[in-house]
Point group: C2
Chain length 336, copies 2
């Protein structure tokens, strides 16, 4: 089971974002420097969706209203890849490749050793043929077998060093400006905002405060096993997956880390990763709001759909709100 999950994880890392030709990372040319406005969501086009979001927030924060939600229960969860920032290229994949590169620089002999060689040569067939064993070795080598302090230093270094391939634009510029405004708007109304991501928890924690104003402890993600070493006084990262936080495991991560159902949940179509989280949120005893990003903007971002259309079908069936990026967002990316 664990081997299976490792396999899926790495397949995700390696091959999820192969349609690089579609990349449109440059922020929209629109700027938003028109001064202070009373509009809490200036990068959202005026329309039904924006109105619905504001109406929901207003009704659940109005004391005395039957829809009122106590502050302690105003939990908002956001997926990250494809929801808060673009998932093409997949940052987690860039990170894995970065780690391989750094490790080979430190120890050039690795370049001739598998699975490093296959990564450097972009040899997908190696992983297809090698199966679990090769993939587990790669994840173990790049993400574990070191202390937390060391791993977090490598994450910080990655975000400092890395630009979007071929774009020379910092990674922070693939954040969606309308979502930054939504996070801020929710927080201004007493919501606590969480990231609930399939990405490795410490990779996302490395930038959550700086990129989204979300503290480390409000990030729920894929985690590896840890072991405390009392002699070195460090937490070691073990080469074994603890929680693969995707699909039906997202409610599990939410229970473990947050301890209650969200009232506001936002994910995206593309990999069916957020259906369970949105459904779980909808089971809340308080009025809840589900939001799904539809990547239908081939000009400013990308257009990609699931083969089985599962997320959009679930949205339609369960009356979730859909962000049609092309129509609902005035601006897509955070300014440079």
């Amino acid at each position: 089971m664990v081997r299976k999950i490792f396999f899926l994880l790495i397949i995700l890392f390696l091959f999820a974002s192969c349609k690089k030709s579609e990349t449109h990372i440059a922020p929209s040319s629109e700027t938003n420097k028109s001064g202070i406005t009373s509009d809490p969501l200036p990068s959202w086009n005026d329309g039904v969706l924006k109105k619905d979001i504001i109406a929901y927030v207003e009704k659940v924060t109005k004391e005395g209203s039957p829809d009122f939600i106590p502050v302690n229960n105003r939990i908002a969860t956001f997926d990250n890849d494809g929801t808060l920032w673009a998932e093409k290229p997949l940052i987690q994949e860039l990170f894995a490749f970065y780690r391989v590169k750094k490790m080979v620089e430190a120890n050039p002999a690795l370049a001739q050793k598998q699975p490093f060689k296959a990564v450097l040569e972009k040899d997908k067939s190696y992983f297809e043929k090698g199966g679990d064993k090769a993939l587990i070795e790669l994840v173990a080598a790049t993400h574990t077998g070191m202390s937390e302090d060391e791993f977090e230093a490598s994450v910080a270094e990655f975000f400092k060093d890395t630009k979007i391939p071929g774009k020379e634009t910092p990674l922070r510029n693939i954040r969606y400006q309308p979502q930054l405004e939504l996070l801020k708007y929710l927080r201004a109304n007493g919501f606590k905002t969480f990231i609930v991501t399939g990405g490795t928890i410490e990779v996302v924690r490395g930038i959550s405060e700086d990129f989204y104003g979300i503290p480390k402890e409000q990030v729920v993600g894929t985690s590896f096993k840890y072991k405390y070493d009392p002699i070195k006084n460090v937490v070691q990262r073990e080469p074994s997956l603890d929680l693969f936080n995707d699909k039906n495991t997202k409610p599990v991560g939410i229970q473990l880390h947050i301890g209650q159902r969200p009232v506001f949940a936002c994910g995206n179509e593309g990999g069916s990763g957020d259906i369970a989280m949105l459904q779980y949120s909808q089971g809340n005893k308080y009025p809840s709001f589900q939001l799904l990003v539809n990547h239908n903007d081939s000009i400013r971002e990308y257009k990609y759909q699931e083969k089985d259309n599962a997320s959009l079908n679930a949205a339609s069936k369960n009356k979730w709100h859909v962000i049609n990026m092309k129509d609902d967002w005035k601006k897509v990316f955070a300014g440079e």
Copy 2:
């Protein structure tokens, strides 16, 4: 390994607090209604320890000081049993017994079935002889095999129904008043306060906000495996331990849930459960503060020490601060 941990866990539940004769739960007769005071810690006696706590908080929150800690890194972790509230009687044990009673009420046939029978008859020998199997059955039956919503309802019911045995005083009255003031004082200075407990995470989350002003997501504790059921749209509690959050596992729970070392950590001597957490905190790159409750107050609370004195020895060796309850606390328990 898991069976071993289950065993230890239940042994803890069942037999940890057998010296009931020492119980002194009644709050101290002193009240603290003298109006508003500038003293942030009125239930702490004036002395070196109180002075040291205040001096630490002042130095690390002073902008421009070399000891300044950014707000995002002001993480304070507190053990619960024996640190924030008394651990005699052990509330987790009362909860397990309460669950057995309720389950037998709902299904009287269970009273003749082991391991329920042994609990009802206080037959310790049954568990001593039956070993892991009987204990795992008991934990599985009382803590798992139901949805989170059902379990949390039973926790709420327990705290509503239960009084300290033989005292007719609500459970909230075994909280330590000086610690409530310390939590509040730290929060007023930008610290985020967390509970890091060996107790079951949802049991403590059931009262963390009400008893301590600590939201659910800031509780780190012992957790069982969860599984999301998309048909019922609930998280199910599985009969398998996920994390036994004690001793060397506390830094693991801290990494998983909080994602950084605390700068302020407080635990207690009695079961050596907090040595690792305090040591881990001391490895912080920022100035840190370690605090250990010494249960040396046989009049107002209890006097109990570890056989090997491990926690107090570690405190002495590592220059941790020790709360000698008898001398440092003006008042012990929160008002009735």
